[in-house]
Amino acid sequence: MRVVHAALLSGVVVLGACARTRKSNETVLTFSGSALGAEGTLVAKQLQRFMQLHPGIRVELQRTPDDANQRHQLYVQWLNARVGNPDILQLDVVWTPEFAAAGWVLPLTRFKPASGEFFPATITANTWAGQLYALPWFADVGLLYRRTDFVPNEPRSLGELVADAKQAMARPGGPRFGIVWQGARYEGLITGFVEYLGAFGGRILDDSGRVVVNQPQAVRALQFMRDELYSSHIAPLDVLTWHEEEARFAFQNGTAVFMRNWPYPVAAMSDKSQSSVAGKFAVSPIPASGEAGGHSTAALGGAQLAINAYSESPDAAYRLIEYLTAPEQMLERGQAVGQYPTRPALYSDSRLRAALAIPLDDARRAIESATPRPVTPIYTELSEILQIELHRALVRQAEPQEALNSAAKKIDALIERTGMRRLMGAEQKAASPTGSSMAGHTE
């Protein structure tokens, strides 16, 4: 009898849970995110405050994996099944066009977001077919770390960087490695390449979506990376198997003069108890090559917030996104977990200075030099092609020109196979009211 009772009771509870959404006028939103560590605490706190401000909305945190690939796979499966939860999706910077083209996230245009208040690059990365689909939540940016005890002034060009590295390595007791970066065959390799590519004035796709990754500037950029390994010998061959953490270990243990990495290691490396370079390093933007057309470039990373197209309450969802990307919350995020705000205005706020552990001007300059990776719905597959070909060139299975030609050919085939030409044509029409501004654009 008691068992039956308990079963009935739990049935009622389950029914109650299902009916909650409809009960009274309360709207229930689900937010996708991490529930772990400082990040989890911060998100919980901000969601709580949001609910106090909006008594009619209740937000539930839906735990999703921290690993980007896993989260992506999960989202794609849910959205294919047209699931409306989570209402707010946390997108990696390179996913927005994919989700937008698939119709999985809503355009934000009708909410009139204040997109002018964010770094332009972070807005570009979230724009597809002339419409904004997500708001940048925090920015990640490629930085050049250097040992100030060997190289007091930041290098102004890549040539200076090589010279500085060699000089420091030659000094008695100097670090073994000149520069360390992420060269394993994975997404990190693309971010590094994009930075050198910009430094030499090259691009992967041009404005009209044509593949230009095998043009001379790109070949020179790839050749420069190869020269670091085999000619000037400032980068150890080990980097070809390294991710962010291996590079950090090397730099943190004092074995490298320079390092390319994201902002995240700053906190750990400033800690004397675990770092032998605490107080002896600084960051700066990655320099330009010094050649004509080249400019200092940082790869842009970070998270964006977008509305699930199948959400039942898009208006409430937007209100939450607006709240989480507001200056106060961003500042708090910077202080709690050290992530960079996407609003330039905050970089003159003294409260952020203590939180970021590096001079705010350096941080802002780096983000201002940030370039999104190609903004295209087929980015993931494009990236895979490029990862393989770049790696082939860097391990000397192929010459740079040969590898990049092969990459260009495969990316062209990918664009063909996925119907991107039609899609991009549509985007250009949507982006330019006349629909013909690109027509005369030839090189």
């Binding site: 499966q77 698939a102 061959l237 070909e389 790696h391 082939r392 192929a398 996925t418």
Partner: protein, 301 residues
Amino acid sequence: MRKISRLGHEARLGWTLVAPALSVIALIAIFPLGWTVWESLHLHELRMPWLGQPFVGFANYVEIAKDPRFWAALAHTAFFTVVSISLELLIGLFLALAMNRAFRGRGFVRAAVLVPWAIPTVVAALLWRFMFESQGGIANALLVDVHILKQPIVWFIETSTAWVPVILADVWKTTPFVALLLLAGLQNIDLSLYEAAAVDGANAWWQLRHITLPLLKPAILVTLIFRTLDGFRVFDLIYVLTGGGPGTSTEPVALYTFNALLQNLRFGYGSALSVVIFAITFGLALIYVKGLGVRLGGDET
């Protein structure tokens, strides 16, 4: 007439009795396979809903046939399978012969030899990667110490050296299994044959060639079929150790399929790849069973 109808009756009863088992097999083996084949005839890209899900006939198979990366992956798989199985058979046979002798602590040795086999592949692969990974790794230190290498090398950036840890790890892990299968075969050989041979003055080498190996053939073939099929589906070991790199020069077909299916979410193309792998392994199994006369579970004379 009576006899035939009785047979018919028995056959009916027989079919009725195996029907539940057959339907389970149909549900868990044949249905998913059929679904995969059906899926492989469609364009189905989970990430690109704008393409729809049209029926494309054999277009996915044509794409596979035209894809150099697939053929390279097939070659890598074959290379891995042949090299690692040859080594495993050779070392396994040696171990089995040794363990077949009567010596003190034989039971303990037989159990101890199985330890590598008992370690999950991913864990074993991580251990091997750790040993080979950095220039200060144990493999480099050892080889420099004994003057095989002049200076430490980066194993995973050259195709030829990247295969070394992969094959070593597989041999280390799977040889015990091979040895045990062969040992079981050895124990079935009648000892009186060796006594007779010894009386006739045959030496140990002759005995190995003319008694042990011929009588061990069924066990060797069973081992081969198991290991070939395993080798062709190798995934976790290479996924962890090299990720298919440098470039894609150690990528096996299973990793390539995983990539198409689960990373790029190309369900149509990935399904076609799965069907191709299935066809290859099935073909290999057929060759072994029909061509080489392996009898699985049958009694040998």
